[in-house]
């Protein structure tokens, strides 16, 4: 009956490490119960008993073979496809009963449907990208604006300086510095230098 029998491989130590429990007759009983439960749920008829599940060839690995018999149809085994479908439907219940996962509680002929990874609605990288881009654009705008402001200030300063230079130039162009003419002291004429006490102060 190899067609309807399934090999099971259990790796308790890999899954639980220090919290591993030993595989003994009680665990086997639980296993039979879980398979019976799976069959009942799948076919929705309450005829499968724990005694219908037969285990054999239990090794130290831990691995064993099991078949599910059908008591209503004199000692024949339930077709493998039904068992497979039942196990598939209740896989996580069976796994959690033993604190194991799909990898550590292997039904060798039954491939498990892998769950897709959780994908958020917006890919995360787009969010990060948006943040980075906003920062950069803000930086560029800031630098350009500050550059324009500096340029305006420099223009204002340079026009002021130009006006000042013009005035200075004009006064110089006459040959005689205007300041000299404006100076209260003026050019001191040596002839009158001795008598400057007699001049009234301006």
């Amino acid at each position: 009956d190899a067609q309807n029998a399934f090999k099971v491989r259990i790796s308790i130590k890999t899954a639980l490490g220090d919290n591993a429990y030993a595989w003994d007759a009680n665990e086997e009983y639980l296993f039979k119960a879980m398979v019976a439960f799976a069959m009942r749920r799948y076919s929705s008829k309450s005829t499968t008993q724990i005694s219908n599940v037969l285990l054999c060839n239990v090794t130290d690995r831990v691995s064993f073979w099991f078949v599910v018999t059908d008591s209503s149809k004199n000692v024949s085994t339930v077709p493998g496809s039904e068992v497979e479908a039942a196990i598939r439907m209740n896989r996580n219940r069976i796994n959690s009963a033993f604190l194991l996962s799909d990898k550590t509680l292997q039904f060798l002929k039954i491939t498990s449907t892998l769950s897709p990874p959780v994908e958020p609605s917006t890919p995360v990288w787009l969010i990060v990208f948006g943040v980075v881009l906003c920062l950069i654009v803000a930086g560029i705008v800031f630098l350009i604006v500050s550059g324009i402001q500096k340029h305006k200030k420099k223009n204002k300063e340079s026009t002021e300086r130009e006006n000042l230079e013009e005035k200075v130039e004009v006064t110089l162009e006459n040959g005689i510095p205007c300041e000299a003419l404006d100076l209260k002291a003026g050019h001191i004429n040596g002839v009158f230098a001795a008598d400057d006490e007699r001049f009234t102060s301006l």
Partner: protein
């Protein structure tokens, strides 16, 4: 909007805020991605510690003299590459133009490498990391086939990032996510180079210093990983026999040369913003030594991590074998451990040889895993990312690693862009009243548009071509003409007087010997050897082809003729500028000499320009 600060100097040239900024910029330019992913690889394949011998000899005879030459040139002439060479002799103006062309070509593809780094960076914020798991296939019974046959890391790089085609002739379409990242990278470059050295000088404090911090963190973490010591021992164990192979010497010479970013014109541009009375000799020695020390310093965490990865792969191999044996013989779990694996195997082999043969166990050899050497993008995006998955807190490590790579590349980009920007500014392509920001904006925009072709599906093949042909041979040629031009056209006597005036002390005999004889000779030898080696076999590349029989090994293909023509064009274009400009000027001179009002060009000297 030229934004040049008010300075007492007559020429209104921008200048560095302080000497440290200048040194840091030169170091940042020299220290780039190659220090992290090329030097450790060369050390590994060329006999570990023994490679340091040809490396330091090349540094002494080639690296430092050429570096000093470029810095002294820029500082003395106070112009970018094109202007500087035009001043030395109009016949040598082509050297400057060649440098400029190389800087343009390299800027284009270098920023695309940074695009990939940025893509990995923004993908590092997820849990789990996207390159650690394979996506499922359509009916969700297993993993995607391409991913399953190679590894999740390979799949993420070749499919999710590059979406690579199996052949360079198939260009495919533009990849929109890479376009977004490329735009961001060019925006970052624009942000930092917007006003020339005024802005890069501020940015360099971060981008040049940050990588050292991260390398130190990785060093500390790397040394605590299991298997790190194996990696380090493997790296540094000297194998002096490799020194007999001339290939080793060639690789050392080219590595020093490209690592110091010589002949790009960027160093000349940086030095031109210095005050003329500056000790360029000390600067050159400092920058060269810091660059080499950084390479050495970077190889320690790289090899710790590689040793960790090899050890983990070895343990995985053992574990897989152990699992198959346990399953086959139905032995209890944990009966065979890694330690007693070999004794168990020999026992089982003697008792049940057919069963063991039927299992098809892979032979696990730690040395084999250590021997798998990778360099370049493979090291960063495949090997290192795989190692990061195995570390606790992978997101943080991934983020740190990619920011470090980005800073390293960005500081080198500053030098490249400066090599493009300064000559254009001096040639007055845009009117003087127009702001500097406009010129840098135009440069970045045009570069972005051209670099869009690297975001095609075959883009990474093209980047390999640019790296191999535009960023190698032309630099050797230009550097050779630089040395010859300064020593024999400008005349070494004049130059040594200029350097004396700048540094304040007489030029050492070492520099005379190097500049006059040894460096040009060495450059010529390296150039000949390099070209000969390239010509020995037809240029080929390795393609990622999921339909190849040997997949996941890469398929070796030969470049089609039109691609080979482009390779030759890339290598020849900058070199041909030198004779072309000389010819152009010769023709102009001949015409001008017939003109009676012709005045011969004044003889230029460093001191004359600044007295």
């Amino acid at each position: 909007l030229s934004a040049t600060p008010e300075i007492p100097k007559e020429d209104g040239r921008p200048k560095w805020d302080n000497k440290f900024q200048y040194i840091l910029s030169c170091i940042g330019f020299a220290v780039g991605l190659g220090n992290v992913w090329r030097f450790p690889y060369l050390c590994q394949i060329h006999g570990g510690g023994a490679f340091l011998i040809p490396y330091f000899i090349a540094l002494l005879f080639e690296g430092i003299p050429l570096l000093h030459l470029e810095l002294a040139l820029g500082q003395c002439l106070r112009k970018g590459s094109i202007g500087a060479w035009n001043t030395i002799s109009p016949y040598l103006g082509g050297v400057g133009v060649g440098s400029w062309v190389v800087s343009v070509l390299v800027s284009l593809y270098y920023n695309t490498v940074l695009t990939w780094v940025m893509w990995y960076f923004i993908n590092s914020f997820q849990e789990p990391l996207p390159w650690s798991v394979c996506p499922l296939n359509e009916n969700r019974t297993g993993f995607n086939e391409e991913c399953y046959e190679s590894t999740a890391v390979n799949y993420f790089w070749y499919r999710k990032t590059l979406n690579i085609t199996p052949d360079i002739a198939e260009s495919g379409t533009l990849q929109w996510w890479l376009i977004l990242c490329l735009a961001t990278c060019w925006a970052v470059v624009y942000l930092c180079t917007i006003r020339g050295i005024e802005t890069t000088g501020k940015a360099i404090y971060v981008t040049a210093i940050f990588p050292y911090l991260v390398l130190t963190i990785f060093l500390i973490q790397g040394l605590t990983l299991p298997g790190a010591t194996d990696g380090l021992i493997y790296l540094f164990t000297p194998n002096l026999n490799t020194l007999k192979n001339p290939r080793v010497w060639l690789d050392a010479a080219t590595q020093i040369f490209f690592s110091l970013s010589l002949a790009f014109g960027g160093l000349i541009a940086f030095a031109s913003y210095n005050p003329t009375k500056n000790d360029c000799e000390k600067d050159a020695v400092t920058v060269a030594i810091v660059n080499s020390m950084t390479s050495l310093y970077a190889s320690i965490p790289v090899f710790s991590v590689l040793g960790f990865k090899a050890t983990t792969a070895y343990w995985d191999c053992l574990d897989r074998n152990i699992l198959s044996i346990i399953n086959e013989f139905d032995l209890p779990e944990e009966s065979i451990m890694r330690q007693n694996y070999t004794s168990w195997i020999s026992f089982l082999n003697s008792s049940y040889p057919e069963k063991i043969a039927g299992l098809k166990l892979k032979s696990c050899n730690l040395q084999e895993f250590l021997d798998q050497s990778v360099s370049g993008t493979g090291l960063a995006f495949i090997v290192f990312t795989q190692a990061i998955i195995l570390m606790p807190g992978s997101q943080a490590w991934a983020i740190l690693f990619f920011i470090m790579l980005f800073s390293l590349g960005l500081s080198s980009m500053f030098g490249n862009i400066e090599g493009v920007f300064t000559p254009l500014l001096e040639l007055q392509i845009i009117p003087k009243s127009a702001p500097k920001e406009l010129l840098s904006g135009i440069i970045c925009l045009i570069s972005f548009l051209i670099a869009l072709c690297f975001t095609l599906r075959s883009g990474s093949y093209w980047i390999d071509i640019f790296d191999r042909y535009a960023g190698s041979v032309p630099l050797l040629v230009i550097a050779f003409f630089e040395v010859i031009g300064v020593v024999y056209v400008y005349k070494i006597k004049r130059f040594s007087k200029d350097v004396e005036w700048m540094t304040g002390r007489k030029l050492n005999l070492y520099w005379h010997i190097m500049w006059r004889f040894i460096s040009p000779l060495l450059l010529l030898t390296v150039f000949m050897a390099f070209v000969t080696l390239q010509m020995q076999k037809p240029p080929s590349y390795t393609a990622w082809n999921p339909k190849y029989e040997g997949f996941p090994m890469k398929e070796e293909k030969v470049y089609p003729p039109w691609v080979q023509a482009i390779c030759v064009l890339l290598a020849v274009l900058p070199c041909v500028c030198v004779p072309l400009v000389a010819l152009f000027h010769l023709v102009k001179q001949k015409r001008r000499s017939k003109d009676p009002s012709f005045v011969p060009q004044e003889v230029f000297s460093c001191q004359g320009a600044n007295s």
